[in-house]
Symmetry: C2
Subunit: 179 residues, 2 copies
């Protein structure tokens, strides 16, 4: 019944109480690397989670025309999240615009395709360097019971992904003939 977005929100809330605004910020970074949502969607989903009793909030007088609401997991929310975590994931990433373009790339001018992949390669290398700097700041993997383990493990996945993508881009450039 609860959507994956709902569990994404619960995952962030499990690390500490947040406002909807803070949740939206987390949905950009670091959660945005593997799940995204705009703030309008988050406010709507919070209403559903509230209705299902998985989260609660405390209101305080805040900036803007409305109360500031700090959301927290309920006991039931924690239980639901814990159960969801180890259920086999149904979906693997199934939409990838670059791969779709590649599927149709035989139609296009090779030089333009080459440029697109060169740009992609540069972007992947930049991102990998960022991730590596970020990884260094951890100073080794946290224990699997530590919330930081989640961040570290997803970062490692991101690093592997960037390496795989960069390698594929290099392979594509070799196929297309350099320059």
């Amino acid at each position: 019944m609860t959507s994956t977005l709902g569990f994404a929100i619960l995952s962030v809330l499990a690390r500490g109480d947040r406002t909807g605004y803070d949740l939206a910020a987390a949905m950009r970074r670091p959660v945005g690397y593997f799940w995204t949502a705009g703030h309008s969607q988050i406010h709507a989903e919070l209403q559903k989670l509230l209705g299902a009793g998985l989260v609660g909030f405390e209101a305080e007088h805040g900036p803007g025309p409305r109360d500031r609401k700090v959301y927290h997991l309920t006991a039931e929310g924690t239980r639901a999240l814990r159960e969801w975590v180890t259920e086999p994931p149904r979906e693997r990433p199934e939409r990838d615009e670059l791969v779709l373009k590649t599927y149709a790339s035989w139609l296009a001018e090779p030089e333009l395709v080459r440029r697109m992949f060169a740009d992609q390669l540069a972007a992947h290398e930049t991102r990998l360097a960022e991730y590596e700097r970020h990884e260094a700041s951890f100073g080794g993997p946290p224990a699997p019971g530590d919330p930081r383990f989640g961040n570290y493990a997803t970062l490692r996945c991101g690093m592997g992904y960037e390496r795989h993508r960069a390698e594929w881009c290099r392979w594509m450039l070799a196929q297309l003939g350099e320059g």
Copy 2:
């Protein structure tokens, strides 16, 4: 104006004329590896492409209560597709349920997490073996102007992806402590 799904359809049609049914089959395999759509969405999108003049069709008497319609690219459709191919892709995959679960995995029983990753690893190894068998059937990379190049290049991407994922699963299992 045309959605990415529209271009996915045009990409399939560029390889030969198809019915909506055939397009839906292609959207499962092989296009489904990087872009998915149900047949209801495909019929709706075909109406839009028709309205935009990017595709046309020829009707013939067919099974079922309605005519069978064989769709084809128009000259304008080919032009639009060719232009789209080398425009920089805006999106990279941004929803990955397994990674989201990993982000919250510190909450769960390590043994259950371990099992989930062992299952994932097995699935990736199976898929990689399938892809490798498929790759062997190509007998080397087609030239970049050949439609089969699109299939081959996306398959290579899939192989790299499965390898990267399997490696990450193995790393996770090592972190969690084997069995």
